[in-house]
């Protein structure tokens, strides 16, 4: 390098008093000359440089946000809430992919035969149930232990996660239902059973273990569908009286759940 910036010039540059033509040359030179760059160091505001470094370090050390977390923040969810939600196993891309695949099979089957629609209806309520079950227990959740120690009350966290799972899975299933052949009332017939199954399971977990509650309720549903099929008409399981029954069950479960809240809280914390 034939030319180096002299100290007086650097001093005036740092002070902001150097005229533009000189500053242009100096800046062009700095890009190419490590030696002169090093000589700018004592002229910078080093206290501020260090403060900024502390902030950089903090951001660099923080775990990176997952796509789900970023999407939640975009939707207006607060940072810490987004992290707790994004850690839910059934709110991750692999889970959504699994649900989508499941629904795709059910829809394809439904196009094959009329009984296929029944298959879709039998499977659809199980998906939100499985999602909430996964959001619930220690078996899939890597943050289960952390969740127990979280400042947020355990039940609030579970309820929040369950609601988020219920919402996303229901939306996915709803979209899939639109792809059914001859969309009619049956495209929405799974909705009330799904809500009923989830609420009953969650209410049951205040007495029995989550495995028992979700497993038991899922088995009952599958059993009921099989019985209806053996009885000749699987759609009996989705008839208006059954819908009303499920709606009632869901409402009762919600009330029981509220009533059991306190017990639930203390049992989980014990």
């Amino acid at each position: 390098m034939s030319w180096h910036v002299d100290d007086a010039l650097l001093e005036r540059y740092a002070a902001g008093t150097l005229d533009d033509a000189w500053a242009f040359s100096l800046e062009a030179h700095l890009l190419a000359c490590e030696e002169c760059r090093a000589r700018t160091v004592p002229r910078a505001d080093l206290a501020r440089v260090e403060t900024v470094w502390a902030d950089v370090q903090e951001l660099v050390d923080a775990p990176r946000r997952t796509p789900v977390e970023r999407a939640l923040i975009l939707l207006g969810v607060r940072d810490h809430m987004a992290r707790l939600l994004a850690a839910t196993p059934s709110l991750t891309p692999p889970w959504f992919a699994a649900v989508a695949l499941c629904l795709a099979f059910a829809v394809v089957a439904a196009h094959g035969s009329d009984r296929g629609v029944a298959g879709f209806l039998a499977v659809a309520p199980l998906l939100p149930l499985a999602g909430v079950a996964a959001a619930y227990g220690p078996w899939l959740d890597p943050t289960y232990e952390i969740g127990l120690a979280a400042p947020m009350r355990t039940f609030s966290l579970l309820l929040l996660r369950s609601s988020a799972v219920l919402l996303t899975t229901t939306v996915l299933t709803g979209v899939a239902a639109l792809a059914l052949p001859n969309v009619d009332w049956r495209a929405a017939a799974w909705l009330t059973p799904a809500l009923g199954l989830v609420l009953v399971s969650v209410a049951l977990t205040t007495w029995i273990s989550a495995e028992m509650a979700f497993g038991g309720v899922a088995s009952c549903w599958i059993g009921g569908v099989i019985v209806a099929r053996e009885a000749g008409d699987i759609y009996v399981a989705f008839d208006a009286p059954v819908q009303v029954a499920f709606a009632t069950v869901a409402a009762v479960a919600a009330i029981v759940l509220t009533w059991r809240l306190h017990t639930f809280q203390t049992e989980r914390e014990a």
Binding site: T17, D19, A23, L30, A38, A44, D55, V60
Partner: protein, 175 residues
């Protein structure tokens, strides 16, 4: 030319491997001059600090964006000036352009400047501050018209007309 044991390129490789010490070293080397250069474009210290912070967080997240050719310093400046534009876009614009003391160079200095730079320096300095700011943003910092508009807080059309005026004035000086 590299003083430390590792070149800037080596540091970026290490950063790609998750080495925070390498990021620290790169920061220590480049943050001071980046701060000075950003400060010349923006008087708001908080904006400069935010831009500097965003720059190195961006480097940490995407060190592979550096394609391995050219000076790492030039690549860093490209990130820094764009981060500054983003920061300025996000905050209500106060007084961002540096208020410079427009000390008229003495006759002697004028002559000296003429000798040093041909007469380019004199010609550049005779441009009005508005025109010079546009020349700096587009020619020296390599910004697009839209980016320069973001940095200077003026419409893109104004950047274009000022650039045309600056070019016309410089051409006339050298004619």
């Amino acid at each position: 030319m590299q003083t430390g044991s590792r070149t800037d390129g080596n540091l970026l490789d290490a950063i790609a491997g998750g080495d925070t010490a390498a990021l620290r070293e790169l920061y220590a080397r480049h943050a001071p001059w980046l701060q000075l250069r950003l400060q010349r474009r923006c008087a708001d210290r908080d904006a400069v600090d935010d831009a500097l912070q965003d720059t190195f967080v961006a480097v940490w997240r995407k060190p592979a964006r550096y394609d391995g050719t050219g000076e790492v310093a030039a690549w860093l400046w490209g990130i820094a000036i764009r981060r500054l534009i983003d920061v300025l876009r996000r905050r209500p614009r106060m007084l961002t352009l540096l208020e410079r003391e427009e000390a008229e160079p003495s006759a002697e200095e004028q002559v000296l400047l003429g000798i040093e730079h041909g007469d380019l320096a004199g010609a550049l300095n005779r441009l009005s501050p508005e025109l010079r700011a546009v020349v700096q943003a587009t020619v020296l910092d390599g910004l697009t018209t839209a980016e320069a508009a973001g940095l200077l807080g003026i419409p893109s059309g104004t950047v274009k007309t000022r650039m045309m005026r600056a070019r016309a004035q410089l051409r006339e000086e050298f004619a």
